[in-house]
């Protein structure tokens, strides 16, 4: 099995998986705590619509994916802020609308395009050096912004109105968070695909949530779980010759259910019931 690691494609895949796993699980902490779970799912489908339009028109697919993803989250955030619509309703509409657009764009393509389906189902093993470089750049940007605005993101996840009242520019930080979610989705699109990318964001943070009451520890656990399951998932998929995206997600899901069993929060709830 060790000879696998000597292959260039395997090294690129593992690096991409580690990068995507770490980044998704980091932004996932804020997504879970701020209650934006559905936003990520909607964004991934909007980004996929962008990819299909990019291929149809001959434009850079990732750039169009970023535009679609960011536009979707901004429209959703704006509608919620205006009090016009709940976040889950607006994202539900945009989610299905962008997926319908993606199907139309695929239908308009004259020939079958395997790369487009790669973005839908994920194909980490086919990540090229160029793509890895681009992903690295985007991941560095997202990571840098997360670190720069860490305390503000934490505060708005806890209570956005209290943050605003305390002098934190909470509204702008909320839109920054939405933008970072969209960028992260695009970073991860090629690795795990539009259908499964959101699991990479949601599951590691939700797993870590079961294990601790401290935000710092939760973040650390989330990144460790996200990175480890992504890398292990790629190895498992290669050894057993199964698709990489689903193997990462299923592995992360197994870890999540294990965390439910050993969760100190579960023990606390049980003991409270006994009182």
């Amino acid at each position: 099995m060790l000879e696998l690691f000597a292959y260039d494609f395997m090294q690129r895949s593992l690096l991409a998986a580690a990068m995507v796993g770490g980044l998704c699980s980091l932004i996932g902490v804020f997504v879970v705590l701020r209650g934006l779970a559905f936003v990520g799912a909607g964004t991934s489908h909007a980004a996929f619509a962008g990819v299909t339009l990019g291929y149809l028109m001959g434009w850079p697919p990732l750039l169009v994916a970023i535009t679609f993803g960011v536009a979707t989250v901004w429209i959703t955030g704006w509608l919620e802020e205006q009090g016009r619509m709940k976040l889950d309703v607006s994202i539900g509409i945009l989610y299905t609308a962008t997926m319908a657009m993606a199907i139309v764009f695929i239908g308009l393509m004259k020939t079958y395009n395997a790369e487009v389906y790669g973005y839908l189902f994920g194909s980490v093993l086919s990540v090229t050096g160029e793509e890895l470089f681009l992903l690295g750049g985007l991941a560095t940007l997202v990571l840098g912004l997360l670190i720069a605005f860490w305390k503000e993101l934490f505060f708005i996840a806890f209570d956005q109105e209290m943050a605003e009242a305390s002098g934190v520019p909470a509204r702008r930080i909320f839109f920054l968070l939405l933008t970072l979610v969209a960028l992260t989705v695009v970073v991860a699109l090629k690795t795990v695909g539009a259908i499964l990318v959101f699991a990479m964001i949601l599951i590691p943070a939700s797993t870590a949530y079961q294990l601790t009451h401290s935000l710092t520890t939760l973040t650390l656990y989330s990144v460790i779980i996200g990175t480890a399951t992504a890398v292990t998932g790629v190895i498992v998929s290669t050894v057993w010759d199964i698709p990489s995206g689903p193997s990462i997600v299923l592995l992360a899901t197994a870890v999540f259910f294990f965390s439910l069993l050993i969760s100190p929060k579960r023990r606390r709830i049980s003991s409270n019931h006994l009182c």
Partner: protein, 265 residues
């Protein structure tokens, strides 16, 4: 310094607040002076929380003006807002959020620190001092969700104090607490007002709990019905205008109103 001789820190000038088609507060003219302890009372839907949001600078007036620290409320900048320590109503915040007591209190420093600045040793010292002021320093590493309701309120008061505020704004701080804990929290607020010289704006349903502690009471029901010393405001003819005929003043001067939210103790 006697009341009336101190500079106003919050000044409503014929100010109205609300949303398109709905006026939650109308034509409010009121000055709150530095160092005052003011209780805001009124029935449900009387505009108490709207007043709170206005003072926080979250809701600009649709008519008239509101000045806070001599600055129009819609122009309140981050540094102004950081001077208002705010305790939101219980239930607004997810109390099971994965956060320790110390992490919660440190959030009080974030507004004052500004963007791109990391909390340093001085901020940690201020957070610890704030915890000490509410006698919660030994719980600093405890998860917020593991504390009782009263202890959580103390932690949120410490978070507000960590801002080193000039004004402490408390929205129903005793709701959901048992009676001894309600007294405990109100005594703590009074102690902080006296020792730190904070201007306190306390929004509550519980008239009897605060009547002997505040300098002034403000009685709201969309409009400002009365503002003055508790003895002047808690007159049957004034209270009946706001609470209706269901109100009783007992022989021990306790105010009892018909609404289940307003039980006296």
């Amino acid at each position: 310094m006697p009341i009336g001789a101190r500079p106003p820190i919050i000044r409503f000038d014929h100010a109205s607040f609300g949303f398109p088609g709905v006026t939650a507060l109308e034509d409010i003219t009121l000055s709150i002076e530095a160092g005052e302890f003011v209780g805001v009372i009124g029935p449900n839907g009387s505009g108490k929380t709207t007043l709170c949001r206005a003072v926080l600078g979250l809701l600009p007036p649709i008519k008239g003006q509101l000045h806070i620290f001599d600055c129009a409320c819609q122009e309140l900048r981050c540094r102004h807002r950081a001077k208002i320590g705010y305790l939101p109503q219980k239930g607004v915040v997810d109390r099971n959020f994965p956060v320790t007591v110390f992490e919660t209190v440190m959030m009080g420093r974030y507004g004052a620190l500004g963007l791109f600045h990391r909390p340093g040793p001085q901020d940690r010292r201020i957070a610890m001092e704030s915890l000490a002021l509410v006698a919660m320093e030994r719980y600093k590493d405890t998860a917020l969700g593991h504390l009782s309701g009263g202890q959580q309120q103390r932690v949120f008061i410490a978070r507000a104090l960590a801002q080193q505020p000039k004004v402490l704004l408390l929205d129903e701080p005793t709701t959901g607490l048992d009676l001894p804990m309600q007294h405990n929290v109100i005594e703590l607020i009074q102690h902080l007002h006296e020792t730190l010289g904070l201007t306190v704006l306390l929004i509550t349903h519980d008239i009897n709990m605060i009547r002997s502690r505040v300098d002034r009471l403000v009685l709201l029901k969309t409009r400002l019905y009365a503002a003055g010393p508790p003895a002047d405001v808690l007159q049957p003819n004034i209270l009946e205008q706001v609470y209706g005929k269901g109100l009783v003043i007992s022989d021990k001067d306790l105010v009892i109103v018909g609404d289940y939210h307003h039980h006296s103790h």
